[in-house]
């Protein structure tokens, strides 16, 4: 019986070791360092323990935690079980999205002028409005979108 148990144990342990992966800790460490280097000073958001959403300005990344600031206090949040972090767009990104909307309106106006002689005011307003909406949507999708960053130790896609 003991022999059987021993062989079973050896079998399971060897099976377990044969599946060993590349050290995920090393890869996670590199990713965290890159994350700190690329996004320090940006507002980030992640899903913390008990599904609590945490958002704040990233000040630093330690091997154990993120140091976040809410403009008043600094607090450390453990990133042990966090695999993805979102970098939240800021005012500059919003400004870019808005300027694309304005350009959309201007371009629509000029397109109408060159394609139609003396268009009615109502048509001008509609076309400009549509151009602004289109430009705004393109701008929002391009510039004002959270960026998902992988900080897990997962090696394979």
């Amino acid at each position: 019986m003991i022999k059987k148990l021993f062989f079973s144990l050896v079998f399971f342990i060897s099976f377990g070791f044969s599946q060993s992966r590349i050290s995920s800790d090393a890869i996670r460490k590199v990713r965290l360092e890159n994350f700190q280097k690329n996004y320090a000073g940006k507002v980030i958001r992640f899903l913390g323990p008990k599904n609590i959403q945490v958002e704040g300005k990233l000040l630093d990344v330690t091997p154990e935690s993120f140091i976040l600031s809410d403009n008043t206090f600094q607090k450390a949040y453990s990133h042990r079980h966090i695999n993805h972090v979102y970098v939240i767009p800021n005012k500059k990104d919003l400004l870019l999205a808005c300027s694309l909307s304005i350009i959309g309106g201007v371009v629509s106006y000029f397109s109408l002028l060159v394609s139609k002689e003396n268009p009615k005011t109502q048509i001008i307003r509609s076309v400009v409005f549509l151009g602004m909406i289109t430009g705004g949507l393109v701008g929002k999708n391009t510039f004002y979108k959270p960026l998902k960053i992988d900080i897990s130790g997962k090696t394979y896609g």
Partner: protein, 492 residues
Amino acid sequence: MNQMKEKLLIFSFSLIFAQNGLILPGQRNAVQSISASMGFSSQDLSEYILQEYGMSLKDLSREQGADIIRAFQTGSIVKPQKIIIAKTPKEALKIAQILESGMQKRFHFFDGTIREGEILSIENEIIRLKTSSGIFNIPSDQFLEESAQITNKNGELFKGAVLGETVEEFIIRTAYGDAVVQKRDIQKMKRYHGGILDRQSEERTKFYQGEAKLINVFLDPTAFPLAGNTFYLSGLSIGYGLTDRFMITSKIGSDFNNDLNLHPRFRFYHKKSAQKEVAASWGIGLHRNYPVESILSKYSHAIEVDSASTTIPFNEIKEISVDEIKKSDLDPRFYVEGYVVFSSRRVNPTGRGKIGWSTGFKVSNAFNNKSSLIKDSVSIEDQNYALAWSQNKKYSIPFRAWASLEYDLRKDLKFLGSAWVDNGYRSMAFGDLLKDYIGDDGTAALSLESSSGSVSMVDFDFGMQYTVNENFRVGLHFQQPYIDFYWEFFEF
């Protein structure tokens, strides 16, 4: 004048042909004779070149040809008995050393087949691979090693087996440890399967990005400037990337005609992840002595010629030249144009390079005090014609708005498309354009400013651009200027 044109043509052609093309016949003969004298058979030589460059001798570039000759002469290529492998070439392929459960990627096999899937388990050297076509049990010695050679934008070079690839990084096992290379930092990358450069797979199946990073689509700028310390030369302009976010170009034709000009471009916004890169830039164009003729030519369709209550746009009248309608005492003027452009590039979900778009809006001061540029009337065959700028609202300011698209078809081939609204645009036939470019129509050479062509304020264009080598690109499309070619010299 004719001599001048001939010289210009010879200069342009010699510039085109001076680029690094295919290996010269003389170089090929030299490689063959030197290698034979060192004991290489033609098969040995073919195998060696295939292994080192992933192509045959006739497909090598001149530079590569020169490298091989130099290597033979310096003795750095080993004699065939050292590189001849008694086995067939297939047996010489490297077998994957690292295979682990959970690996999820495209696997290349010894028999030349390829499967994309995930390793479920490894037992007794048999690998259970799950693909979308089923589950396969494959001996581990059938998996080819996948290795890569990556140069990042800091100039660091990594070589080693590819352990994994995620949306953000490549994980490479180098001789000195595992490296996580962020895709956003990749400058150049070569992939090897079984130790041999897989050009087919690299260039046609999956690649991270195309070789050319466009700063213009046809004549419209993108928000991505030249990389820092890069020199740029095209048929119309020269330029230099001073930093990664600031570049300057200058139009050669205008410079040689006493109209010194600078076109700085500044990228004021930039975000880059492995999947996506977005940027916004502004640019201005400053011309010290911009010829009034150029403004009148560009907007000739906005000048109305009135006779007997019939109004005809100036560009439709062949009998009168721009010089005849221009006020005689006018000096060239200071010209400025400004634009803002937004661009986005993202990884193509198919895995073949990237897809990008740009959109921008440009205005200039060409219509400043425009009524002072033309005479009130002009007479032809004793008949007087009144001249005036059109009062139509569409000519209130000179503008151009554009949206362009770039799509990597292959690593060295891009599809380009562009649509625009431009109140100064006229579509021209290739013959007229060539006359304009070489200055045969009375305008400055090496620039495009003809008054001919049909008005086409809303229009589009598409074409292809081919990367001939690391420095030279050539493109073909269906509107002016029809042919694009330029050189980029990195770390210049």
